[in-house]
């Protein structure tokens, strides 16, 4: 059990890192892109917009907590 917990924690830290909002934002944006694309709505613009939003909020969040 302890090994499994350590194993899962390692992969969580490896993939998600110290800001879970980045991973959550990426997954939500990819899901929204898929929904729009399957409804035949142009969706290529969504990821560049999301990158600006996700990066900005991550930077603001980290800059605030480091003060």
């Amino acid at each position: 059990m302890r090994f499994l917990r350590s194993f899962l924690r390692f992969w969580y830290n490896f993939i998600v890192g110290d800001d879970w909002t980045v991973a959550a934002g990426v997954i939500l944006t990819l899901a929204a892109t898929a929904v729009l694309a399957h409804a035949h709505v142009p969706a290529w613009w969504l990821l560049p917009v999301a990158v600006v939003v996700i990066l900005a909020q991550s930077l603001i969040r980290t800059a605030r907590t480091s003060r």
């Binding site: 800001d19 980045v22 892109t33 694309a37 290529w44 560049p48 600006v52 930077l59 980290t62 800059a63």
Partner: protein
């Protein structure tokens, strides 16, 4: 264009991580035992090679759409994290990585540890420190090699880019006989972050079923866009940073037991 950027991305990512691994291996070798430290390096590289050899062919079995969605998502998460940290460091909001201080810290800890021989390795501490250093620093690169390579259909080229970086960093390390403190690590991480984010956006959108207006020709536009956004964010953070820069970062958590 795609192949050149693929090799460049893997080379830069691997070079940055190799510089950090070199510092740990040098600390283990100079303060403890070179034979054990180098055995640890070999064991670490073997595990990483096994991960690439196992995951690479496994990923090529996944349908290209699903693969690009998965790879795009992972590259975006990794890329935005690299980019965020590099921007904060460049803007003075996060401590810079100081290889000389990390080396001194690991050397002091290594000298204080007890000597213990296991499995024909004369110094288990030096072996474990090197092994964990190489494995932990190299794991992300192994993922980048596998995901980039599988999406572009050229894992061999990605491995070549990584191997070239390891040879170069190891060669310079042997010549300098010390940690590579003058390597512009943060600039390299900034570049890797931009490249990973660019390819993450491109493949992620394609995997989700969207189509870029100019197909592959959109990649340089996305690259310029990501660079512009990152440089703007850095300039804004620099302008609003009124406090002193944080002290250099000198902790790498590698537990040796």
């Amino acid at each position: 264009m795609g192949t050149t950027l693929l090799i460049l991305s893997v080379f830069l990512a691997c070079a940055v991580e190799a510089v950090e691994a070199l510092t740990i291996v040098l600390a283990a070798g100079t303060s403890r035992d070179w034979r054990s430290a180098l055995t640890g390096v070999g064991a670490g590289l073997l595990v990483l090679a096994a991960i690439v050899a196992a995951l690479g062919p496994a990923l090529t079995v996944i349908p290209i759409g699903a693969l690009r969605l998965l790879v795009g998502g992972l590259l975006l998460i990794f890329g935005l994290q690299w980019l965020s940290k590099a921007i904060l460091r460049a803007a003075g909001r996060k401590a810079l990585h100081d290889e000389a201080q990390i080396y001194a810290r690991h050397t002091a800890a290594a000298r204080a540890a007890d000597r213990d021989s296991r499995f024909a390795v004369p110094d288990w501490y030096a072996f474990t420190l090197s092994f964990k250093g190489v494995l932990l620093e190299g794991l992300e690169v192994a993922f980048i090699v596998v995901t980039f390579g599988a999406s572009q259909g050229s894992i061999g080229l990605a491995v070549l880019g990584a191997a070239a970086a390891i040879v170069l960093v190891a060669g310079v390390g042997v010549a300098v006989r010390g940690p590579l403190a003058r390597v512009p690590e943060n600039t390299m991480k900034f570049a890797v972050g931009i490249l990973l984010t660019t390819f993450g956006m491109f493949w992620g959108a394609e995997g989700a079923g969207a189509h870029w207006p100019s197909a592959d020709a959109s990649i340089p536009v996305l690259l310029a866009f990501t660079a512009l956004v990152s440089l703007t964010a850095m300039a804004i953070l620099r302008r609003t940073n009124s406090g002193p820069n944080p002290p250099a970062e000198h902790t790498v958590a590698i537990e040796v037991s």
